[in-house]
């Protein structure tokens, strides 16, 4: 009878397509908007992800997110190194500095100053040159997007000449030579990203008493990072967060203080509501149209549980196909927009969420239909 149920579903092409399209639309909108939301939120902590290795970030207690830099005194580095359980600790400079371009224009850049000795926290992927090239005098590594975009030279005819290895820049009256091109995660800060050594970065930065942005540390083998964070906080009075904890704090800040979740939430909710309305209504109408046939089956001895199973199978099959098409569409969107500015990230959890939403839509519309069919008086079949 399950096969009969499926033939009843797909045999009515127009209604079947209506149901599947409704579910596809819902799944597409829920997945795609959520993926953009996740992509955007991932960008909030892109800098933390890129730095990769350090397990612990130490910072001023008032820091709320990764771009909220509140400089520390250089001596804090030594205090962190002195905490029991710290394997190593290195300084990190992170700040916005103005770069003067060849044509005299200024461009604000996000500058990372890495520990001179270890160069820990360098870019995740080098396109040209190596991280070690930073040891060359006046060396800086520029991110690919910045080199091709905001740091490119614009010729009189309007063509852009990307910044290349060997080109020079001027940072706060100091010369810098591009020694490498790297690829970094996109962040909420749209400025180009420059990597250099800590000492050089503090030279480029305007004179201030405090220039140390973060201390990056790692626990000794066998030491729990969270426990070490507590120890560092107790010993230094600074804020110490694990890499994941800092990502969560950054993400949480943007969730709390920006309208991003509301805006995307509305879009996702809209997709869900419209999808539910279209698919639910179409499926319900499909059942109403088939009421006489369900009544006939009931008269011929179909039990309530059998009719229930038939309707559930119809709803779940339509749901699976709609979900598959919707998620497929969202994936295609992600692939097409891969090299664009658009933030798009579709982890498996999103597929599970959109699957759950579609399942809910299917079950809700099936429930309506089931209620009608189970209450159906089989004597309806005798009405001509």
């Amino acid at each position: 009878m399950i096969r009969i149920a499926l033939k009843m579903l797909v045999g009515d092409r127009a209604r079947y397509l209506g149901i599947v399209m409704g579910l596809t639309f819902a799944a597409l909108l829920i997945t795609q908007q959520s993926a953009i939301f996740v992509g955007l939120m991932t960008r909030t902590f892109g800098s933390i992800t890129d730095l990769g290795q350090p397990g612990i970030w130490v910072m001023d207690p008032k820091v709320q997110f990764v771009d909220d830099v509140k400089p520390l005194q250089d001596t804090e580095l030594l205090r962190v190194r002195g905490v029991d359980g710290v394997a190593w600790a290195v300084p990190l400079y992170k700040g916005l500095l103005k770069v003067r371009l060849h044509d005299g224009a200024y461009q604000t850049c996000n500058v990372f100053g890495l520990d001179d000795a270890t160069l820990l926290g360098g870019p995740p992927e080098m396109v040209e040159g190596t991280l070690a090239d930073l040891r060359r005098a006046e060396g800086v590594i520029v991110d690919e997007n910045g080199a091709n975009g905001k740091l490119a030279t614009v010729r009189p005819d309007g063509t852009r000449v990307p910044l290349r290895v060997g080109d020079t820049l001027e940072l706060n009256d100091h010369r810098a030579i591009v020694v490498g091109i790297c690829r970094v995660s996109r962040t909420f800060q749209s400025q180009p990203v420059l990597y250099t050594t800590y000492q050089r970065a503090t030279t480029y930065a305007p004179r201030e008493r405090k220039l140390l942005s973060f201390v990056l540390a790692d626990p000794k083998p066998g030491v729990d990072p969270s426990e070490l964070c507590a120890r560092i906080e107790a010993a230094t009075g600074l804020q110490a967060l694990t890499s994941d904890g800092f990502k969560t704090a950054t993400y949480g800040y943007f969730m709390k203080y920006t309208g991003i979740p509301i805006n995307f939430g509305i879009a996702v909710l809209l997709g869900f509501v419209i999808g539910t309305a279209i698919a639910g209504q179409t499926f319900y109408n499909f059942t109403l149209d088939n009421l006489r046939h369900f009544g006939t089956l009931k008269a011929m001895g179909a039990t309530g549980p059998l009719l229930l199973a038939m309707i559930l199978v119809q709803a779940l099959v339509a749901g699976s196909i709609g979900w598959g098409l919707g998620v497929g569409g969202a994936s295609l969107f992600g692939i097409v927009s891969r090299n664009s500015e658009l933030a798009f990230r579709m982890p498996w959890q999103l597929l599970a969420i959109s699957g759950g939403a579609v399942l809910f839509i299917c079950l809700a519309s099936a429930l309506l239909a089931i209620k009608t069919v189970l209450r159906l008086e089989p004597a309806i079949v005798f009405k001509g």
Binding site: K7, R292, L297, A299, M300
Partner: protein, 251 residues
């Protein structure tokens, strides 16, 4: 006040009773909207008999066959069909009983348009859990019997009204029911096609171990009845032999 009619007894020679109703009552609605569809109906139908229920619209014919087929519950009275006391059976039991013992032919055929002809015919067997292959094979045999073996893979919409009713008859017989309930099986058909359908029913459905109750307005088919029960206002007013009814029916 007219005297209550004697029970519409089955012919004396009938071997066994398929249906025995006594004092069956059924009403719909309540208060001012109360409608008495059946008022103390007494009716016997013998095995091997084709009984036609006739009467004006709203007289209770469809309600009576719904009660006899276990689709509706009677409010009062005794309803014994094929030896089962329907009034004492649980709903689930009645559903199972109906699926095994009753076949239906409907005025509007009620074929599922998205299924093939043979799938439609196989439904009663599939509902009983018969493997699909066997059910389709049996459906094919029935379709051969009703002269539609070549159309087994057709969609119902590709058949004429008469052919669709023949498919419905095949479906009603595929699981060998002991009671066949037909609701206006010829009213949507022209005289010739209706005649053909009735000949088919008599040839394949009327058997010594099966009873057939047929509701109709169509006087053209009275000649196929063994007996005709005339209903009026929820009561059986008279029961006559089929041919006698034909003779007295005004044309």
């Amino acid at each position: 006040m007219s005297p209550a009619p004697a029970p519409a007894a089955a012919p004396a020679a009938a071997p066994a009773l398929a249906i025995r109703c006594r004092g069956v009552e059924k009403s719909y609605g309540s208060g001012d909207a109360l409608v008495h569809a059946l008022r103390k109906v007494d009716l016997d139908v013998a095995m091997g008999e084709l009984l036609m229920l006739v009467g004006p619209s709203g007289c209770g014919k469809t309600t009576l066959i719904s009660v006899l087929a276990g689709i509706l519950d009677a409010d009062a009275g005794e309803v014994a069909v094929l030896g089962a006391d329907l009034r004492t059976m649980a709903k689930r039991e009645v559903t199972r009983w109906r699926g095994e013992q009753v076949g239906f032919v409907f005025q509007a055929y009620n074929l599922v348009p998205t299924l093939t002809v043979e799938e439609n015919v196989a439904i009663p067997l599939l509902l009983r859990g018969t493997p699909r292959r066997l059910a389709l094979a049996r459906a094919g045999e029935l379709l051969e019997q009703v002269g539609l073996g070549a159309r087994r893979r057709s969609a119902p919409r590709d058949l004429s009204g008469g052919q669709q009713q023949r498919v419905a008859i095949a479906r009603s017989l595929v699981h060998e029911p002991r009671l066949l309930v037909c609701d206006e099986p010829t009213s949507a058909l022209d005289a010739e096609t209706g005649h053909g359908v009735m000949e088919l029913l008599r040839a394949h459905a009327v058997r010594a171990d099966r009873a057939l109750v047929l509701v109709t307005h169509d006087s053209r088919i009275f000649e196929f009845a063994d007996r005709i029960a005339r209903m009026e206002d929820g009561r059986i007013r008279a029961v006559e032999p089929g041919r006698a009814a034909l003779a007295t029916e005004p044309h």
